[in-house]
Structures are given as structure tokens and as C-alpha cells.
Subunit: 402 residues, 2 copies
């Protein structure tokens, strides 16, 4: 098997952890697999480098910041290669450009364009463990670029896609994907499998187990992902196109408290107004999540939508002039809300999922303010104070009665 293994910065934070990772890697290699490892910068290295730069120039160019950042992974790949050598296995480290990573030129948030994996292939053919610097590549000018935070996940999936790997394992500090946050819901259990789409919905809900772009890429190239613990030797959660868990209506209950609700009350009920409002929001580079439009009295309407909690103020500022022009009765935002969602491909073919969720919340005496649905997700906005209780109630309704 050709296996790509990705380890994050905390997994290689010190010499002992680097040796732990090397043991994982060399065990996989000794079991007869071809192994490509993607590794991030050690622990706080990235933050330390940023601090060094800020001391000299708070606004250094992004090109130079990327040059600086890329040194972090260079250090960790070399150390991990030496750790594998120490355990008696041949290893070779490769930087982004050596591993064939071409990106666009958007420094600090570059997108991978191609991975030309000839060098990786050649090193595997020499029976070497190949250790690739995640998070980095070069653009058409031969300048070093970085993919932005979480980019090492994407590096790993991109290699898996380019090489048609059998499996891409993402090692992390959790054991996998759970039916709910296990710190909050004691009966939460680890999922054996989850679909790409379910994983994507969970990622947008703030459950940042996997970088979203990496899941999209895995889906596109049908790469089987596995999320698993870098500390415990237990199976993780596999992310794939179709799962065998037919019986499960939903996979997970998630909570998101990084939400602000913006309300515009009493604007004319005319065509084109919503377009103009959301154009202004987009110009302010604010991502809108749930939108609700309702007809008010006197031929007016109300528009409610959610944005990330930190963007409420900026959104209201961006809309103030236009809302004054519309003679809106009110324009305000608050953050006293939370979003609770259920995610599962099962709801596409099974009825009654929504009503079971709403019933659970009703039984718990929790008021639903807004509802939003996609094919495989149902989200409700509720009072933030009720959020943990809501997750527990919904999780109980779907998982504890089995």
C-alpha cells in the first residue's frame, strides 16, 4: 500500500515527540508499505518566527513572510528524517519545491495548482521513507509560497491525489470524529466512518478536525482519509464517499457559538433590495451564513442573517448608510445566539429527522429562533445560554435510544 501520513506541529513539538512520530512512520514502512509523510513546523515555531518578524517590521511583505515561515517545516522534515535514520530506516526530506508543489502567487494563502510527484516516486522506488514539508510550495516565479494555516492537511491530500495513494492518514490530537463534542456530551462516541459531505458540513460548523480544502480535494479525487490520534494506537474515523453506516440517520451534533445575528427590520418589500444588501456585505468581505427573510406588516419586510461573531459590528457599519436610505426601522446585531446542527447523509432518504430534532428541543423547553437546512444538515439558531443543553438533548434523541 502507498500511505500518506500527515502530522501536525504539536505532534513534532520536541525531540521525544519527533521520535514518537518516527516510530509510527517506520512501523508503517516495516509493515511493507510505501510511506510519504507530510509534516508541519514544530510546535510554536511558526508563532516564534512571526514574532521575530513583527519585532523588525509589523507589516513585512507577504512574500518575505512566506520565505520566513517555510523555514519552520524545513527544520521539522530534516529532524524527522534523522529520527527515521536513527530507527534504522532510510529516509529523505523534501521541501515543497523539491516535492513538486506548484501554487498560485497568493502569498500566505496560496492554492496548490499541481503536484509533480516524480521526485517523491523516485525516492520511494529507492525504498526510502519520503518526508515532505507541508504548507509550502513555489509559484511560477520560483518564489516560496505558503498555503496558510491548516495547509499541511491539503499538502497531504494533494500528494495522495497526485500519487493515487491507497490511504491518507491525518494524525491529530483527537481520536477521530465524534457524534458530539466528547468533552460536553459523555455519551458521544467515535464514528468509524463519515462521508466527505458530512465532514465538510461539520468543518463549516467549526469542528476543525480537518482543513476544509483538504476534504474538498479528497472528495474530488476520491482519496480515502483517516483522522486518527498521534498519541493513542486506536483506529480513527475514515472519511470516504459512501459509508456502510446505513442505519445512522445522522452522524454528529455540532455547536457553533462563533455567530452574530444581524437584523434589519422594516424595509420596503421590493425586488433587488436583498441583492443590494448582500452585495454590500460581500464588499466588506464578510461571510454570511444563515439568511431568513420574512414579510412584516405594512408592506415592509425584515431580513435576518448570521455572520461570524467578530464581524457583527463591521457588517452593521457597512449597511448603515443603505439602511438609512431605505428608511429601515431598525438595524442591529447581537451575539447572544448559538447554532446547533445535525449532520448526516442519512437524512436525505429518511423522513422525520427534522421533526425528531425539533421535538427533542421542544421537550427540553428550548426555543428555536431560526431554522436552516441543506441536504445533509439541519441548523437551528437558539439562545446561546441553551447551546450545551440543546446539543445534549439532540444527541440523546438520535444516539442514546439505539
Amino acid at each position: 500500500m502507498l500511505i500518506v501520513q500527515k502530522f501536525g506541529g504539536s505532534s513534532v513539538a520536541d525531540a521525544e515527540r519527533v521520535m514518537n512520530v518516527a516510530r509510527r512512520v517506520t512501523d508503517t514502512y516495516r509493515a511493507g508499505n510505501e510511506v510519504v509523510v507530510v509534516v508541519s513546523a514544530q510546535g510554536d515555531t511558526t508563532d516564534d518566527l512571526i514574532a521575530k518578524a513583527k519585532e523588525i517590521n509589523p507589516n513585512g511583505s507577504k512574500r518575505e513572510m512566506d520565505m520566513l515561515m517555510a523555514a519552520g517545516e524545513q527544520i521539522s522534515v530534516a529532524l524527522l528524517a534523522m529520527a527515521c535514520e536513527q530507527l534504522g530506516c532510510p529516509a529523505v526530506s523534501l521541501l515543497g519545491w523539491q516535492a513538486g508543489f506548484s501554487t498560485n502567487s497568493k502569498y500566505s494563502a496560496a492554492r496548490i495548482k499541481t503536484v509533480k510527484a516524480e521526485r517523491i516516486r523516485a525516492e520511494l522506488d529507492k525504498k526510502k521513507i519520503v518526508i515532505v514539508a507541508g504548507f509550502q510550495g513555489i509559484n511560477k516565479y520560483d518564489d516560496v509560497t505558503t498555503l496558510g494555516r491548516g495547509g499541511s492537511d491539503t499538502s497531504a491530500v494533494a500528494i495522495a491525489a497526485a500519487m493515487n495513494a491507497d490511504l491518507c492518514q491525518i494524525y491529530t490530537d483527537v481520536e477521530g470524529v465524534y457524534t458530539a463534542d466528547p468533552r460536553k456530551v459523555p455519551t458521544a462516541r467515535k464514528l468509524d466512518e463519515i462521508t466527505y459531505d458530512e465532514m465538510l458540513e461539520l468543518a463549516t460548523l467549526g469542528a476543525q478536525v480537518l482543513n476544509n480544502r483538504s476534504v474538498e480535494m479528497a472528495k474530488k479525487y476520491n482519496i480515502e482519509l483517516e483522522v486518527l490520534s498521534s498519541l493513542k494506537h486506536v483506529p480513527g474515523t475514515k472519511v470516504k464517499e459512501v459509508t456502510k453506516m446505513e442505519k445512522m440517520l445522522i452522524k454528529s451534533v455540532a455547536k457553533d457559538t462563533d455567530v452574530a445575528r444581524v437584523m434589519i427590520v422594516g424595509i420596503p418589500d421590493e425586488p433587488g433590495i436583498a441583492f443590494k444588501i448582500f452585495s454590500r456585505v460581500a464588499q466588506a468581505h464578510v461571510n454570511v451564513d444563515i439568511i431568513l427573510q420574512s414579510v412584516g406588516r405594512d408592506g415592509t419586510k425584515d431580513i435576518t442573517f448570521t455572520v461570524p461573531a467578530g464581524e457583527g459590528e463591521r457588517t452593521v457599519e457597512a449597511l448603515r448608510e443603505y439602511c438609512d436610505h431605505l428608511k429601515a426601522k431598525k438595524l442591529f446585531y447581537d451575539t447572544e445566539i448559538a447554532k446547533v446542527s445535525i449532520v448526516g447523509a442519512g437524512m436525505e432518504t429518511h423522513e422525520g429527522v427534522a421533526s425528531r430534532m425539533f421535538g427533542a428541543l421542544s421537550d427540553a423547553n428550548i426555543n428555536i429562533q431560526t431554522i436552516s437546512t441543506s441536504e445533509i444538515k439541519i441548523s437551528v439558531l437558539i439562545d446561546r445560554a441553551d447551546a450545551d443543553r440543546a446539543v445534549a438533548a439532540v444527541h440523546h434523541a438520535f444516539f442514546d435510544e439505539d
Copy 2:
């Protein structure tokens, strides 16, 4: 003018020093020059990286050590580029491979084969300050190599040679080259100029102001070097083919205490024996400096030679078997000696230089044990205890009477 400026690790050890260097560089740039800067890793970075590696694997492969080391310069070039930006000047950092440095594959001590300076030229044409990572390149496999300690000097001269630069300035923690060590000889004075050959002789005497390979390369391509202080704004010492200092018989008096003397007493006076002895020393990778052969009594001869102080033991070990075979009377080494040398192209055309040196030593009641000469250097071996007195006496004889 096209000026190459090289700054060592201590010159960029922290944010404040990086800003100091940036001021030097941007001053040179604002004066209308094209500026290429070569910089080493910050302060203790290289040692810190080595310590990290040793903790994981005391014998990591040299390829991976070079990969690790090269991250040090990557950090310093990015920081210096941002410092130049902070001072309002456009700058771009380049790694060894981006700057066109091709080397052979001798990891940790690679030799520069070519510098393809197209990218540097293109960036200069865009009116940028170009900041190049010293000490590193890539080999024909596209693997990162390092030039070994002091390699950044060579990087700077190689760029100057490839681009036909007008001047290559080596900034360091001394103000230039002196007629003797100014910490030991109060009347020592800084030289305005010195020839390549004189500089080479001084470097081999342990006066490590400039890396030797860099001086050889500067001589080969006739690049004018200047050694100067990164802290004080004063002229340094220029290193060039011919100097205007006709009147100076010698340029400098130097002392080297990193010397062991190996003696072989009472071996047959037959052809080929010296060859066999020094072949064995070479096989042990020991560099021999001064050799003296003398005819002893009874048809035997004695051979005395010097090696670096730390190699005495190993040299004697390498010779023991053969000397037993030769029935040598004695084989031993000691380190109670020092080498004192005078260097100067003037002695090629002026007589009496040697006798003036020997007279000064005689007046100081210092016994000369061995003498060795080249065209522009005279070295004597004396008791180590007399070394500083000898330097002072010889310096006085040549410099204080002017």
C-alpha cells in the same frame, strides 16, 4: 557601482542588529549603488539547530544536516529583507538555489561549481536590494548543500565574481587586518591594503579574518575585497592584487599556537622513507605544515614536522607501526611550541628581512628551533611561552622604528 556586502551571524543576531545591518545596506543603496547582500544564520541559530539534531540522532546523515542548517540562513534573509522594507527600500530575499548556486555533492563542505546570477540580475534591474542566503546551494540532484563554516564569505565572493562586482565588502567584528593582534601588541595598526597572497598566508596562520577559499576565489577572479567593521563606520582593509604600500617590507606579524611538533629520530638515511611517512600521515587526513629533515649520526636521519595541535596523538599512532619497522630511535610529539610568522610581498624584492626578524628574536633572547619560508612568509618555531614576547619584538623591529 555594484557592491556585494556580506554580514556574519553575529551581525544579525537580534532584531536591533538586523536593523543596523539594514541601515548599512539601505545607505549603500540610497547612495545610488546596486547592492547584493549575503547573510549568515542569526547568532547561535546554527548551533541551536545542531543541538536539536543531536538530541534526536547523534549521527544524522550529512544530507539531512545540510537541509536543517540551510533553514538558518532562510530565516535571516527574510528578516533582513523585511528590515529593508521597514526602512522604505524594496528588497527581495533569495535562497541558494534561487540565487543560482550550484555545488558539488559533498554535503556539509560543498564546493561552489557555478553561480548563475540571472535571477539576482533581474531583481537588481527591478531596483531591488537582493539579499542572498550565504553558505548554501544545491547539487545536481536538487538537494540542499552547505559550504561548511565560513562559507558565507565564499558565497559573497562567488556572487561578486559571477556578476563582475566592483567591490565585495566583508563585514565582521574587527575593523580590518592589523600589523599584529591589537589585543596583544598595543602599537599594532590597521592596514589600508594587503595583497591576496599576503591575506592567504595570514589566514593559514590562524588569523581567521577571512575564509581562505574566499580569498583564493577573489584572487582568481580579481575581486577587490574589503574587510571592515559592522559596528564602526570606519574604512577597513582592502585586499587586492597589488598594493601601493611599496615601502612596507612586511604587512603583519602573526602567532599560531595551534601547533604540535612530531619528531622521528634515528631512521635510515635511504630514499623513499620520507615519502612513505608522509603518505601515512595523509591517509590519516592530517595536514602537515612545516617539515624539517636533518642528517643525524651513524648514517641515520631525523624528521620533524608540525601538525595542528589536536592531531599530534593521531599522527603518532598512524606512524608507530612503520617507525617500529624502521627501528626508529624515537617517535613522539609535543605542543610546547608556537609558530611566529611575518608576512609581506615586500620581502620578495628586499633583502635582509629574515635577518632583521632573527635579530629581533635574538635581542629578545628567544631561541629559534625551526625556520620555514615561502616567497612572502617567514615562520619560526619557538617555545610557546615566548610567543607573545616574540610577536612584540618582531613587530617592534619592523613597525615601530618607522
